[in-house]
Symmetry: C2
Subunit: 235 residues, 2 copies
C-alpha cells in the first residue's frame, strides 16, 4: 500500500498552488522556484498531454480555443513559449530532495490517449519519485495509474459535493476536497477511513489556521504568507 510522501512530517503540509502565483505567473519556472524559496513544503501543479505525447504543465485543457490534446508540442510551444514540460519541471526540482510534488492529472473519462499510463511511468522512473503523489478528478485515470504503477500514492479531487466515497471504492490514499467541503465531521469521517485530507485553494491566513487546527493534512494556496501563518501559530 503506497503512503503519501510525508507520513512522518509535521502537519499541515503546505503546498504552493501552481508554484507561487502571487510571485510569478502560475505554473511557470519562476513560480515553482518562488515556492521553494518561500520555504513551502512543496507544490501542486497540473499535467496535460499534447497530441504527440508530450506531458506539459498547464491547468486548462485549452490554450485559447485550441485543445492541447489536439496540438503537437511544436505548435503548442509557438502559442505558449513559457509552458514547461513535465520533464523540465522534474529537472528543476531535482536539486531539492525534500520538496514535495503533487501532480494533478488532467483527464476526463473517455479521453483515452494514454496519459495516465505515461504519467505513471514518468513518475515511477524519476529519481525523486518518493516525494510525488498524483491526484485527479477523473477516477478512471486514478484506476489506470494504480493498475499500471501501484506504488504511486493517489488522491481523488472533488469540489462541490462530498464524493469522498469514490476514494474508498478506489482503495486510494487521499481525498482532495475543496476547502468549503471541509468540516470537523467530514474530516473525522475521512480520517477514520484512513484517508489523508488535502484541501485547496486557501488564501486567507485565518482560514489556514482554522483548517490546520481542525487537523487537515495538506493545505494548498496561492500565498506563502497566508499558508505559513499556520506554522507561526504553533511555534
Amino acid at each position: 500500500m503506497p503512503v503519501l510522501p510525508f507520513a512522518n512530517r509535521k502537519r499541515p503540509i503546505l503546498l504552493g498552488h501552481r508554484g507561487l502565483p502571487t510571485r510569478a505567473e502560475g505554473n511557470t519556472r519562476p513560480a515553482f522556484l518562488a515556492a521553494v524559496e518561500a520555504g513551502l513544503d512543496g507544490i501542486e501543479t497540473d499535467v496535460q498531454r499534447t497530441k504527440d505525447g508530450v506531458l506539459v504543465i498547464h491547468h486548462d485543457f485549452v490554450v485559447g480555443l485550441r485543445l492541447i490534446s489536439d496540438l503537437d508540442y511544436a505548435e503548442l510551444r509557438e502559442l505558449r513559449p513559457q509552458m514547461m514540460t513535465l520533464d523540465a519541471l522534474l529537472e528543476l526540482l531535482e536539486p531539492y530532495p525534500d520538496f514535495l510534488l503533487n501532480l494533478e492529472l488532467k483527464s476526463i473519462p473517455g479521453l483515452e490517449d494514454g496519459r495516465a499510463h505515461e504519467l505513471a511511468d514518468r513518475v515511477a522512473g524519476w529519481s525523486g519519485r518518493r516525494r510525488v503523489w498524483i491526484s485527479s478528478y477523473d477516477p478512471v485515470a486514478l484506476l489506470k495509474v494504480r493498475e499500471h504503477q501501484p506504488e504511486i500514492p493517489l488522491g481523488y479531487l472533488f469540489r462541490v459535493y462530498d464524493t469522498g466515497r469514490m476514494a474508498e471504492l478506489l482503495g486510494i490514499e487521499a481525498v482532495h476536497p475543496h476547502w468549503q467541503l471541509v468540516s470537523a465531521a467530514r474530516l473525522a469521517r475521512w480520517h477514520e477511513r484512513g484517508l489523508v485530507v488535502a484541501t485547496w485553494t486557501v488564501n486567507n491566513a485565518g482560514k489556514v489556521r482554522e483548517l490546520a487546527s481542525l487537523g487537515v493534512d495538506v493545505i494548498m494556496g496561492d500565498d506563502a504568507e497566508a499558508l505559513l501563518a499556520s506554522k507561526k501559530q504553533t511555534q
Copy 2:
C-alpha cells in the same frame, strides 16, 4: 440490488442508438418512433442539462461553440428548435410499456450542476421507471445516482481500454464497452462478475451475429436491419 429491466427476456436485447438514425436525424422524435416501429427492444439516448436546469436529449456537450450547460433552455431552443426535452421523450414513450430506455448521462467529474440527482429523480418518478437504466462514462455521476436513487440500474461506459473494473468497484449492474473491446475472454470475465454486457455501436449484420453468438446481452446500433439479423439467425 437493481436488476437490468430485461432479466427474463431473450438475448440479445436490441437498442436503436439515438433512436434509429438511419431513418431520421438521431435523438429526434421521428428517430425514436422509427425505433419503436422497426420492432427494436428499445433505444439508447443522451441526456444533457441546460444552465437553468432543463434536461435535454443531445449527444454533444455543445451546440456550435456554446456549451449547453452555459445556455438557458430558451436560448438553446432558439439555436436548436428540434431538440427534445427529457420530459417530452418520456411522454413520447409512455404508450409503449415494453419499450426499453437506456439514458446516457453526459457528465464529467467536476461538472457539479446537479444533473445526476435531477435525472435520478426524474427517472424514479416516471411511470415507466422499470424499463429504464442509466449509463455514463463518468463514475462520479453513477455514484451520485446510486446514492440518490438506489433502485435505478446502472451501466459504466468505456471505449478504448478495458476499465470494467470500475463497474465492480462501484458495485453496479452493467458494463457498456465499445464493441471492439468485446472478446470471448473479456465477456466471460464480465459475466463471471455478474455484470450485464451492453455494447455499441454495431452496424454490421455479421458483427451483430458474432456478438450475439458470443452471448452479449445488449447490442446497440444505428441500423435496424443489421440489428435484427441476430434474431433471424436464431429463428
